[in-house]
Structure formats: structure tokens, C-alpha cells
């Protein structure tokens, strides 16, 4: 059997302690923090959608959802994970709708370009970024949250609404896959000689 590691990463991360600021001051503070977080939401959305305009549409939809639910938000939840989780859910919902729509188009015989990237497109990439763009949605999400946003594994679990064990296995799969893709994308020796 595979023993649980003695030092699970989750031990490091504790939920935010309950805050006891009065509600009004809290709201102003939240408002400032909301402003500060919007560029990061946009960045997260870009990693998910791989397109600037679609990303900002996604952020706008997520902000609308968030502001509608603002008063019902539990003050104990960290604002960033709360916002990111709304954004992620919105993204997943839209993906589902899009997929359903593609199926409809398939049924009625309208050709659509294949969604999965071809091997050629993978090889055209020159760096880790091109490889990153080829990863499945949920792997891009986790790599961005952990690597760029510096979320603790617990926060990632909350944001993506998955168990912490799934966070670890998904992270591991994402990193290995990104590595393989990046290595596949490295410049060929011939190119290096020409330079």
C-alpha cells in the first residue's frame, strides 16, 4: 500500500481565521480588494480561455454573478478564492454549453473545426507557453493557481471544488504532461547550429 506521506502539504495551510471587523469597514476593505483582484481574474481567465476578448467577457460574467451574490457571501471565505471559484464555474458552464452546441451542429451536419489540437500544432510551439496552451482546461487552471497565483493546495481545492487528493494528483499529471510537451517543443539541434 502506498503510505500517506508524513508531511502532507495540506498541513501547512490553515483556513483564514474568522475576522471580527465591523461590517461597514469590511465592505470598504472588500471593495478595494475586489478592485485589486480584477487584473488577476483577467489573467486567470486568459489562461482558461486563451483569448483576450473571451477572457474579459468571462470576467465580466463572473463579476456580475459575484456582485449579485455579494451580500450572501460568507465573510469567512477568502475573497480571491471565492471570486476565482465563481469565474471557474462560469467558465465550465460556458464550456458545457459550447460543447452541447457543437453536438447540435454535428447532428445537423454543420462542419466545425476539431477541438483537440493536432500534433503539428503542438510541435510548432517553441516554449513552455505553447505547451501550456495544449493542456486540458482543468490542468491549465491548476497550474496557474498554484504556480502563478501562489494558492495553497487547500485554497485550490476550495476554488475548484475538488478534494485535496484530486488537487495533488491533477497537479502531478499537469506538470508531467507540461514537461513532456515542453520537451517535445524544444528547438531542434539543426536550428541551434544555424543560429
Amino acid at each position: 500500500m502506498n503510505p500517506r506521506p508524513r508531511h502532507t502539504p495540506a498541513i501547512d495551510t490553515s483556513p483564514n481565521p474568522p475576522r471580527t471587523v465591523d461590517v461597514c469597514a469590511m465592505d470598504e476593505l472588500d471593495e478595494d480588494r475586489l478592485h485589486a483582484l480584477i487584473p488577476r481574474m483577467r489573467q486567470f481567465a486568459r489562461a482558461l480561455t486563451r483569448d483576450g476578448t473571451a477572457a474579459d467577457d468571462l470576467v465580466q460574467a463572473a463579476l456580475e454573478r459575484a456582485l449579485r451574490a455579494w451580500s450572501s457571501r460568507s465573510k469567512r471565505d477568502a475573497l480571491q478564492s471565492w471570486l476565482f471559484s465563481i469565474l471557474y464555474r462560469q467558465f465550465i458552464d460556458e464550456q458545457r454549453r459550447a460543447k452541447r452546441w457543437r453536438r447540435v451542429l454535428d447532428v445537423v451536419g454543420v462542419a466545425d473545426e476539431p477541438h483537440a489540437p493536432s500534433a503539428e500544432r503542438v510541435n510548432e510551439g517553441r516554449d513552455a507557453l505553447a505547451a501550456f496552451a495544449q493542456l486540458p482546461d482543468e490542468q491549465r487552471a491548476i497550474l496557474l493557481l498554484v504556480g502563478v497565483e501562489g494558492f495553497s493546495y487547500r485554497e485550490v481545492a476550495d476554488t475548484l471544488e475538488i478534494p485535496i487528493g484530486t488537487v495533488m494528483s491533477r497537479l502531478s499529471r499537469a506538470r508531467d504532461r507540461l514537461r513532456r510537451l515542453s520537451e517535445g517543443c524544444a528547438p531542434t539541434p539543426a536550428l541551434r547550429i544555424l543560429k
Binding site: R4, P5, R6, H7, T8, P9, I11, D12, T13, E31, L34, H35, I38, P39, R40, R42, Q43, R46, A47, D56, V59, Q60, L63, E64, L67, R68, D127, A128, L129, F132, L143, L144, V146, G147, V148, G150, S152, Y153, M168, L171, S172, R175, L178, R179, S182
Partner: protein, 248 residues
């Protein structure tokens, strides 16, 4: 030193700086003795670096006014009552067709378009759509000067706080009569009220006019036409129009 082999989760936690310091040292020692694993970890780290340099600078994104929370809130508020306005408009249209034109006669005032229709349009634009403010928040400073330059005496920013309305911003517009301004006030509970100013080029009777869910109260002041536009159900507007007329 003989350290136990780290679990793969721990190697990730090591890369992400999420290992306790003591364990971190042990993992480092273990990696030093296992070059293959060390290379794997280095690969992960370099990928993290690459992602960070690509995605880690959100400040560099171009500004996107439609993502401003204040504006989204405004639209959410407006959305609620644009639906109401549409319903009212439909009732009005049906009423006109069936019951005769008392409203039309009252409203048209001898011209093709009803008076201050532009004020209603301006209000709807700001309430309903993604139109950015020219003066807003910290950029409110130039507003009074701009109004004074364009509307002389009439160009004052009314203070409506006594009626529960705070100035949110203002938008400049161009009309056939010249530059116009819509000042947007909110009461913090979803209520919105607009004060609209533009040059007056033709004779205009003071009056008030309903249009869908909106009510405009308007008058001329020197060479300026002014309208207070609000929800027709907003009782406070009765007191606000004279207040604006007196100069806030």
C-alpha cells in the same frame, strides 16, 4: 544522513514552497543524492518560472472599463428596472392605440419629437448600457469647471444629498444643439436619477413628461435646457426638480 524517500506530493510541495522548513531541508538532501529526480524537479520549476513570467504581471493588461465593479452594479440595478420600463412602455403603447391621444397631444408640443427626448435617451444609455463616465470617482474634479464653461449660470453640480442621492459621475454628450452633460446620481439602494443639461436653441415650455417607466421634469434656464430624469415611481423627484432649479 539517511532520509526517507519523499512522496511525489512532497516534491510538488517542495517546488511550490509549501513544505515545512525542516522537511524541506530533508527533501533537498535527498534530491542531492538522486540526480534523476532532481532533474525532474528542476524541470517543474523551470515550467513554473515560465508560466510566472508569462502570466504573473496582470498590471500590464490594457484597461477595460466594462469590468469596473461600479459600472457592473449600475447595470445590474438598471437591468432590474429596464424590464419595468419596457413593460410600462408596452402598456403606454397599447393605451395610446385604444384610448386616444391625450398623452401624445400633451407631450409633442407641436414638434416632431417630444421635448427633452434626448434627456430620456441619455438616461437610458447610461442606465442600460456599457457607457463609461467621463467624470467619476477621483476624476470628478474637472466637472464643475466644464459645466460652468458650457452652461454659465446654470452649470452647477447640484448637491442632492439631502434627498439621499449622491453624485456618481457624469458623461459628456454631443447633441444637435451642442455639448450636453448627464449627471448620474444614485441612492445606494438601486435608485438612479439623472440631471441633464444642454444648450437651449428653441422656445420650450416647462413641463414634465412620462416615457415608459421614466419621468422627466424639465425647464429652461437662460440658454440652457435642464431635465431631471428619474423613475416615474420615485417620489423624491418632486422635491429634487425645484432643488436643482434653485441650484442645489
Amino acid at each position: 544522513m539517511n532520509t526517507s524517500a519523499p512522496h511525489s506530493d512532497e516534491l510538488h510541495a517542495y517546488v511550490d514552497g509549501q513544505l515545512p522548513a525542516a522537511r524541506r531541508a530533508e527533501v533537498e538532501a535527498w534530491l542531492a543524492a538522486h540526480p534523476d529526480d532532481a532533474a525532474r524537479v528542476r524541470g517543474w520549476k523551470s515550467d513554473v518560472e515560465a508560466l510566472r513570467s508569462a502570466w504573473g504581471n496582470p498590471a500590464a493588461l490594457p484597461a477595460e472599463p466594462r469590468l469596473d465593479p461600479a459600472r457592473i452594479r449600475r447595470r445590474l440595478h438598471a437591468g432590474r428596472w429596464t424590464a419595468l420600463a419596457r413593460a410600462a412602455m408596452l402598456v403606454l403603447a397599447l393605451g395610446l392605440g385604444a384610448g386616444g391621444g391625450w398623452l401624445a397631444r400633451d407631450a409633442r408640443d407641436g414638434y416632431g419629437t417630444p421635448p427633452m427626448a434626448d434627456a430620456m435617451t441619455a438616461y437610458r444609455m447610461l442606465a442600460d448600457q456599457q457607457v463609461s463616465m467621463d467624470f467619476e470617482g477621483g476624476r470628478m474634479g474637472g466637472l464643475q469647471g466644464w459645466l460652468a464653461r458650457n452652461f454659465n449660470e446654470a452649470g452647477r453640480v447640484p448637491d442632492l444629498r439631502s434627498q439621499g442621492y449622491a453624485l456618481q459621475g457624469a458623461r459628456m454628450m454631443s447633441t444637435p444643439e451642442g455639448a450636453a452633460a448627464m449627471l448620474v446620481y444614485e441612492d445606494g439602494q438601486g435608485g438612479m436619477l439623472g440631471v441633464y443639461l444642454r444648450p437651449r436653441t428653441q422656445r420650450m415650455r416647462d413641463g414634465e413628461r412620462r416615457d415608459g417607466g421614466l419621468m422627466a421634469r424639465y425647464w429652461g434656464q437662460g440658454d440652457t435646457a435642464i431635465a431631471v430624469v428619474s423613475s416615474r415611481f420615485d417620489q423624491r423627484a418632486d422635491a429634487i426638480a425645484p432643488l436643482v432649479r434653485r441650484g442645489g
